[in-house]
Amino acid sequence: MYGKKGSELVKELASSEPGQLSAFNNDLFAQVIDECTGHLHHLGSLIRKIEELKKIEEIKKLNNQELEESEKQLLKAHNSGALIHHLSLLRNKRCLMAYVYNRAETIRSLGWAVERVLPEEIEEKLSGSEKEYFKNHAASLQSYMSELDLDLAVDMVPPKDPYIKVRVLEDIGNVLLSDQSANLARHAILFLRRTDAEQYISQAIFTLMLW
């Protein structure tokens, strides 16, 4: 059946957990593109046949004749066939676009969570164009924020306490925070400004400690 592979591609999207990305399905994607090329090929040959019949019709008209019944039937069948191929192309385009577009939405949400550099385990799931899109979009966001001179990637949840207690999960070394410099050594427990700590928590470098 036409369009089956396209819908498989979309089903793959639907079955992944919201906000999660699975590896870009290059194989299936290319197969759907191939199917499009196939439809175009059929569509082209049908359109040529239709045009030939129309020419015959014109000539016959000049001689006050009509197409024969079998020719009329043939013309109709060609027309329906062309319509089916056209609709299948539209359908496949929609599936391909939905696949890329919805993944792009998830990729954009990454931009809010990880700033400019993607973790390796996510990067390897992206297509080449997606990696580029992530970079470009992150840069667009960055340029908006620097125009405004305001970092929007922090403060993702309403504040409660200005300071929070966190535990460090990874050795990072010395970093400069807004009101102090801190040594981020694994297992260290720190008492930091919430806005400073937030980025690290979302990147799973810190874990929040409940008192």
Binding site: G3, K11, S80, R94, A98, T106, K160, A204
Partner: protein
Amino acid sequence: MANYYDIDDVLAEEEILPVVFQQAADCFGLLDSSDDTNEVEAGAKAELPFWLARDLHVRGVVAVDVPPYFRKVSRTRKEIEADAAHVDLRGRCQYFYELGLKIAPLVGDKTIGPFLLVAFQTRYKEVLVRAHTAASAVAPKHLTLLTNEEAKLYEAGQLSTAAFKKWRMGGPRLQRAPVLGRKRKPIE
């Protein structure tokens, strides 16, 4: 089409409808038939996905037949009247409501709308009650009866219950970004 990229809409249009070809169509391999004919004959019966059937129906190439579960006299309608909450709609059509809404204007059947509404209203109550009371981790058997639309409501209901509980107990508010997945192993 404002919802061009909507995954559920794309998938709802993949649902299969019975059709009868009103004229021949020159279309190789459409029906997976084993013979090598290029042509589908007029009068041929086939099953086509909604996205294809809709336009072909509008242009008179095929006539769409209403799937059995939407027919005026059908087991589904009787079952819904009797005990809506326990009818397995998912088994009939994952996108029962979406497809119903799309097909009703196409075939001009005015009874489909009210039928969908009654089915939804009665089942919705049940879905909500279960969503708010079910223990979260186990997927209850009831879920297998729900259409996609209902399953989403069920999930939403569960999430809001969970969020309410978390709010009341004061759980952690800062968390690692969910998009990063669960790959990082906990240390220790």
